[in-house]
Symmetry: C2
Subunit: 632 residues, 2 copies
């Protein structure tokens, strides 16, 4: 196993300076440390490699390592260092505790890198490197998703256009043109549609005129189209647009919009798929809208499931990178944590669990608080993967706990109130109600819960002790102070030891929050109860959609709640552990190919914007050295 | 030098079957054959590598090899096999004539791969492999262009939005926010704008209120914006759209549209740049429209030149691939051949010329007929590179010559008329007027012209002899029959020998068609005369634009005509060698960063559409083997 220890300095330099101060190991050294042979991976430059999926089959008889998920308490808008803790823990396990370890992380969206947020590689002495390659392009997976998503979008509008301008027979004849010998045939993908229509004939000329119409005319209802175009850029002017205004499009204008690429259902498919053939099926099953008769229209109906898979065939291989201390990281998929499930890919975790083997550790991060990330990790990701974590970490900060205890509002870009930088044990204790609910909810899955207190310079011993006491009282397996931001892996050694004990002492099976075979509403209500809600209220639109999905046969899918990450409830300003509220469901949508139904609790923005002075003002290349400057 | 000879079968199998029948060499073997060391390139999988730009500096003292450009006669809509000839010739030079050789080609657009056209890797036994990696994603260069282009587009609309919703001081304060010590500073890119405004002050607080306004308010005239968004997908419904219709965008709607990514000015920049620092400058100088006062607004004015360079920093390295016979290919850039100059990159050619060294050959393809591709190769690409070709090839087919001689219309997707499949020497002879003008125009640059007759099965000896005679009479250095489609490099050995002699006997300097220091109109007229035009007619809009660009100081740039490739004239149905027509210039636009002015001779489509049954119906992955099926 490759690894090395860092020399740290104090105060902690800027992230990019730390990242640039370390020369990464050649990625083949990292691969060697995992016993990967050269034909198990493809190099992408010197510091990235794609690990090829067949590795799973080759190692299928090896026992899995321990599986650890990192969640958090309800965060402030500043974030509580969940990625940093994930990376720091792995640096501790690999570089200080001599464990085989792989970190599995999401690929960040490139859009925000140039907007407000900056990069997402961790921070301080706990980072993934090279930071610029992690944040930009990486190995092209998001670009592949953009291309596939938009090919499907183009196919939808163009198909409607061609159906509107051609008679049934002309349409059919163009879809099944005669070959050189004058013989018409259905091709492979057409048999999928024929099967769906219960047509068992195999020759185009045998179809009745009614069957010709049913086969050739998808009859998409333009108002039902849920498939939007995507772009990995913060472009707010594309949120709502009208397309088709060119003279050649004959007045077939339509209102639609762009989402950021990570919000594409194809990203969710990539994250939840388990093999190449499974991905082929999921991509083909994606529903883009309904026919005028109310039947779901899929990518396969449009003839596209295969081509989409071709565009995604390299993206299915996770990307191997490294931490500052030379431990391996698999970066793969980055589905939105609100309209999708916000967890990195199943295939990366599966490969990682085999690579570390028994006694090794795979540590994966789940987005936002445990109500968002961990819940979906358990009920969606683990349900599809069949994997079971032994330990769940909950990252807490004194800052966020004070906010939950009643501290003043925390706003990004504004100075922190004094309440957050001077000792106030009472405020921390009051805020622990939030932490306690996260512990209880997470424990209910049958895992051992370890609380990681991510220490800031102004936190005091008494404040930290208050958190530890509350954690243990709530049933946490352990609660540990960490200083990995300032000290790298060395600052997370205690956390590493606690995680090791938690894994070795895990005995319970995974208990889901809800079974799949109850109704959509019952599933929504089970999740709402875990938030502290006393009930659920459905809009008329939500009722209509639930009825439709149930009728279409999709009620057996798991539920992916789209809810604010800033509160257990739908109200972002309700901090702590709110109870007695009624959770409003405004709409219900489906990612049928990815495999979940997503109720919308409020309005979710799926396309960020740029501020007056975006990050890009500071980003440049040193044209002498080729080094990137100004990335944060 | 790596290479190997092919075993060919007859009749020639499908392109994908030939491509899949050959196991490519590991790309490091190809690199070794060029004396590239592992630190000269980055691997992207097993069959692609990016050759790193510093190689140029390292080899700067080595003498260049011979430089050969492949153009063609005015083509039919079916194409006359120019890529195939380029690849076949290189297979001959490398595998049969023991020459060091590198082919330099454009990266194909992914959009058409799924639409009508299929791939662009050559054909028959003259192809670049692996074909799927060549046609899809490759090493992500086009995706990088899409991302950079669209970040700039988002920045334009968002800047207008922020300027419309903020007073000058607020805008200025947000652009130059105080740091932790409360001090405001300009950053590097802001000094570029200050310099442009002739403001020499270095501290934000020293600016007068007028200077604050001039600095902070770009005051972009929305009607003047020429920068469009791009996507590498055939999406006709994006040709004309309205953006900004979301409630948060406060009614700032605007009509705009998407082009296909290869039409982006950034693609033209990539093709014409000569170094990383040159690319940084060109990207910053790109003009996106005017201020309301009529001054050009650039990417650097928007704070983006550096960030765009960061997005493009890997794309500047050309991609090394291989032919079926194991000779090296550098694939790099793919600018549109109408609104841009349709030639692969300068940096790839420069690297290649050093790698092959004296006595070696670099063969590059220029888009369409010599009026489009070769003219721009000479007057734009060679002008910026300082390189000089020794030999220009003109690819001709009996089919296209018959069309020019008066044969019936040739339409893609329809069976060929009998005139094209049975002997008709008179028709060929009559059509040679087209070839003769291409020879004369090309010879005028001071290069030796070799005509390559790309043989089809139905061509007869008498027809081929007619072409050879006409070629030599028109001053061609040689005219040679080739059968590389059917026989690989072996079928282009005679062409290789002719090219070798042409290069060894080249003596003249490069003579441009026009100097740069004459007016825009004089340059347009010089090019029009080479087409056979008797004069040029300008629309009111064209007059206005020429006046504007001249006033803005851009009249010294070369000219890139946007004209149909199907005739020397503006009328696609005027075959042969038309004369006496007046060339209409409907509009004139500028790619200021890339470095040319482009007059529009007619309407150019910059976003293709999908047919009723696109190629994607046949494309799929074999999920057992991971192999791509159905790509053509």
């Amino acid at each position: 196993m490759s690894s090395r220890k860092l020399q740290v300095v104090s105060p902690v330099p800027a992230d990019i300076d730390i990242a640039n101060s370390v020369v990464p190991l050649h990625i083949s050294e990292i691969a060697n440390g995992l016993d990967l042979k050269p034909d198990h991976y493809d190099l992408y430059g010197k510091y990235k490699a794609k690990v090829l999926l067949p590795v799973i089959d080759e190692l299928k008889d090896r026992q899995d390592g321990y599986y650890v998920v990192v969640g958090g308490i309800t965060p402030t808008p500043l974030g509580e260092g969940k990625s940093t803790t994930t990376v720091g823990l792995c640096q501790a396990l690999g570089a200080y505790l001599d464990k085989k370890v792989v970190t599995t992380l999401r690929q960040p969206s490139q859009g925000p890198t140039f907007g407000i947020k900056g990069g997402a590689a961790g921070g301080g002495y706990s980072q993934v490197i090279p930071m610029d390659e992690f944040n930009l392009h990486m190995t092209g997976d998001i670009h592949a998703i953009t291309a596939a998503n938009n090919l499907l979008a183009a196919a939808i509008d163009t198909r409607i256009f061609h159906e509107n301008t051609q008679k049934d027979t002309a349409l059919f004849n163009r879809l099944c043109p005669p070959n050189k010998e004058g013989v018409r045939t259905f091709n492979e993908i057409m048999f999928r549609r024929l099967k769906k229509l219960n047509i068992t004939k195999t020759k185009p000329e045998d179809l009745t005129p009614e069957e010709v119409t049913k086969f050739a005319r998808l009859d998409i209802d333009p108002d039902s189209i849920t498939w939007r175009r995507v772009m990995d850029v913060n472009d707010r002017f594309l949120r709502k647009i009208t397309v088709g205004q060119g003279p050649d499009e004959k007045g077939m204008v339509r209102e639609t919009g762009f989402d950021i690429s990570v919000a594409s259902e194809i990203m969710a498919v990539l994250a939840l798929t388990t093999s190449l053939s499974d991905m082929r099926e999921r991509l083909g099953k994606m529903v883009i809208g309904n026919s005028k008769a109310g039947d779901p229209v899929t990518a396969d109906d449009l003839g596209l499931g295969g081509a989409l898979t071709v565009l995604m065939k390299d993206a299915i291989n996770p990307t191997l990178m490294q931490t500052l201390e030379g431990t391996p990281v698999l970066v793969h998929a980055g589905p939105f944590a609100n309209i999708a499930h916000g967890n990195s890919s199943i295939v990366a975790d599966k490969i990682a669990l085999k690579l570390v083997g028994p006694g090794g550790y795979v540590v994966t991060e789940a987005g936002f608080g445990s109500d968002i990330g961990t819940e979906k990790f358990m009920n969606i990701k683990c349900r599809y993967s069949g994997l079971k974590p032994q330990c769940a970490i909950i990252v807490a900060t004194i800052r966020a706990l004070k906010m939950h205890g009643g501290g003043p509002q925390v706003t990004a870009g504004r100075p922190l109130d004094r309440a957050y930088t001077s000792e106030n044990v009472a405020l921390v204790e009051a805020g622990c109600v939030n932490l306690v609910r996260h512990i209880e909810n997470t424990k209910a899955y049958g895992v051992n819960v370890v609380v990681a207190v991510n220490k800031f310079a102004t936190d005091t011993d008494a404040e930290v002790a208050a958190v530890k006491n509350a954690s243990l009282a709530a049933g946490a397996f352990d609660a540990v102070l960490c200083t990995h931001h300032a000290h790298g892996g060395k600052g997370a050694v205690d956390l590493g030891i606690a995680v090791q004990k938690a894994c070795e002492n895990a005995t319970q099976p995974l208990k889901f929050l809800y079974p799949l075979d109850i109704s959509i509403k019952e599933k929504i209500e089970a999740i709402a109860r875990s938030y502290g809600a006393s009930g659920v209220e459905y809009s008329e639109q939500a009722e209509k959609q639930i009825e439709m999905y149930t009728k279409q046969g999709f009620s057996g899918l798991p539920i992916c709640m789209a809810k604010t990450q800033y509160s257990f409830s739908d109200n972002a300003s309700a901090k702590g552990a709110p109870t007695g509220f009624v959770l409003p469901i405004r709409d219900v949508r489906g990612s049928i190919g990815a495999g979940f139904i997503y109720p919308l609790v409020g309005t979710m923005s799926t396309m960020p914007g740029l501020p007056t002075r975006p990050c890009f003002y500071d980003i440049d290349v040193d044209t002498e050295t080729g080094m990137v400057k100004g990335l944060s």
